[in-house]
Amino acid sequence: MHIKSNGSSNIMGGLTIIVPVKAAVPNVTAVRLDPVTHNLVREGVPLMLNPYDRNALEFALRLRDRYGGKVITMSMAPPSGKDFLESTIGMGADEAYLITDRAFAGADTLATSYTIAKSIQKLFPNFDIIVFGEETTDSATAHMPAQVASWLGLPYVYYAIEAEVKLEDRVIRVTRYLEDEGVYETYEYRLPIILSVYKNSNPPRDISLVRKINAKVNGLVKTIDNNVLKLERECIGLRGSPTMVTKIEDAKPIERKRQLFKGDPKEAARWLLENLIKEGVIRL
């Protein structure tokens, strides 16, 4: 069983774990694309916590419950992002930060990773682990862990499913699962490190009523803007975003051949087999 700890009982003060999360668009097909910039039009669209970020948060909470310390969630989002950050506190995060400023709007993954990396550096310079979800449901680039790692000059591991920490040596053993190969790999690193969590692992715990009330009533989600962070304008928001979406096309469904064979089942099977071989669908 996991050892409960509030962080102070641990000789090292436990781990400081940052979980950056994203406000994702729940139903991508219902969202319009801006005809000029080809960006998603997010205004007026309800946002929700990217579901895979819940698995990442669970991963982080398990580490904290075992080794002590604290879990801090963080999101670069419009002011309405406060709602889903309250849910992260409801799940068990100790603190939550909403990084919000009009100057951050229109960011691509490069500008976003810069903002996240610099925010973490400024607010929590002594962090131990940054834990990301595997990807987001609305853009699925999975850029963030690697990009934040490169801004901070740190190692990173994707598809983590569990980890063990030796606090006194500041060493972490991370196991990751490669789905396609069906392979588990275990790596050992010195902290700090950046992880992204395999999306089918660490099923998230329920949201606690009392914790969520506390988050709401006591305003536990803290808001940080660029007056605090003082990030360079050239590196954030639209100005810091070199990505250009040059063209977007609807994927056209492939026309089916709709061939029909009527007659004896034996002949039908033969006919089907011959055609499937001819089309290269199956090989003998």
Binding site: G90, S208, L209, V210, I213, K216
Partner: protein, 425 residues
């Protein structure tokens, strides 16, 4: 940590949020707990709200609320596989109106009203049961957490698991509920206006009986929104076992029926949903509408008036929420929240349209459960008219055509059912 409130409301729907808004605006410390992602995300209805309650509660709704269209046209159709007979009513009057809307959006709006009045609305947390100590409800339990209050307003909807688990309501019987399934189909505004004969912002509400439920008790509905139409099937669960196909195939068949097919042509399916609905009026109520430390409102209390053609849930829910708030304010003045003090809620319900109308129509569901209404009579009316309009040189009087079409139904049955319908609906 703040784990004590004056009032806890279980369920952020029309009833719960109205109670919460009313109480919070009078200075009560109110907590609303919702299991869905946000207020409204678990709500499903056919398509329209009767506005008379809103005129009183939120007069600003005309400007603020997410109204889709104002209903100006009502249709009732008796439908068989290959023929249908429709009553089509239109009016140019605009008082006592009803409007179509997306209930999810409407309830989200009510949620914002409650929050801006000061209520704390917590979503994504299912309440497991009420906390009962010494025969009194003192709070709610969710997972390992307990939160306490002077009084709990149970607004959990028709699937009242919290009341059941707390021993305050029996399991739902199939006799008192129906299952609704619904689709929202996107169509552009002009197409809707043309196909349904509507002008800008004008709406249509339509109920259809017979073929849509394979002639079992229940029916279908169609409502027009601004840029979508909603259609659905409601089937009395008591007769569910007689259905020969799954209910989700019923709605498919209904959409492909020649009458409906041309109305939804070119449309895009946006969403589908399903929900239970109370259909037995007061017979769907739990044993007690109030007790020591708690009140029951909305669908959980069975407050839905189902008259076959007219179906009213949201106005009954909101009014019961308002009355629950009034009762709690009175109980607060007395300083007690026991069943005796809260019985004022029962009295206020009796004086309001909620119980007055539900009592007036207390036998409606028994009449509406009569299978002949959805089978024999639907077929009869279409058969009679088909014969009457089919001119082939043989003389046909109205009376004899009707007698010929009625088949096995006796005149006595006809007379008795007609009287029952007229007297009870």
């Amino acid at each position: 940590m703040s784990t004590r409130f004056d009032v806890i409301v279980v369920g952020a729907g029309p009833a719960g949020l109205t109670a919460a808004q009313q109480l919070a605006s009078r200075g009560f410390k109110v907590l609303v707990i919702e299991r869905g992602k946000k207020p409204g995300s678990k709500n499903v209805f056919g398509g329209r709200i009767y506005a008379h309650v809103l005129d009183r509660l939120y007069p600003e709704y005309v400007k603020e609320a997410p109204v889709e269209r104002w209903v100006r046209r009502e249709r009732v159709t008796f439908m068989t596989e290959d023929a249908w007979t429709t009553v089509d009513f239109e009016t140019t009057k605009t008082e006592h109106r009803s409007f179509t809307t997306y209930l999810t959006n409407f309830v989200e709006w009510l949620g914002k009203k409650a929050e801006s009045a000061g209520a704390v609305v917590v979503s994504e947390v299912p309440v497991d049961s009420l906390v009962i100590k010494d025969g009194r409800v003192v709070g709610v339990r969710a997972g390992n957490d307990e939160v306490y209050s002077d009084v709990v307003v149970v607004a959990e909807g028709i699937n009242r698991l919290v009341l059941e688990r707390s021993g305050l309501a029996p399991k739902l019987s199939p006799d008192i509920v129906a299952l609704g399934v619904k689709e929202v189909i996107k169509l552009d505004k002009n197409t809707i206006n043309e196909r349904f004969g509507l002008d800008e912002d004008e709406g249509l509400a339509w109920v259809l009986a017979g073929y849509p439920t394979h002639y079992l008790p229940g029916g279908a509905f169609i409502y027009t929104n601004k840029e979508a139409i909603t259609l659905g099937i409601v089937l009395y669960l008591k007769y569910g076992y007689q259905l020969d196909i799954p209910i989700y195939e019923l709605i498919e068949e209904f959409r492909l029926h020649p009458l409906v097919k041309r109305l939804v042509k070119g449309g895009q399916l946006l969403e589908y949903s399903a929900h239970l609905t109370p259909v037995a009026g007061l017979n769907a109520s739990p044993p007690n509408l109030y007790g020591n430390g708690y009140l029951v409102v909305g669908d959980a209390a069975g407050f839905l008036l189902h008259l076959g053609i007219i179906i009213r849930g949201v106005d009954f829910a909101m009014e019961s929420g308002r009355l629950a708030a009034e009762a709690i304010i009175k109980a607060h003045d007395v300083g007690r929240y026991d069943a005796e003090t809260l019985s004022i809620y029962g009295k206020m319900l009796e004086e309001s349209f909620v119980l007055r109308e539900l009592r007036t129509f207390r036998n409606a569901h028994k009449v509406l459960m009569e299978p002949r209404l959805y089978d024999d009579y639907v077929k009869l009316i279409n058969k009679a008219l088909a014969r009457y309009f089919d001119v082939d040189g043989t003389p046909r009087r109205l009376g004899s055509t009707l007698l010929e079409a009625k088949g096995n139904i006796t005149l006595l049955d006809l007379a008795r059912d007609a009287i029952r319908v007229v007297m009870n609906l």
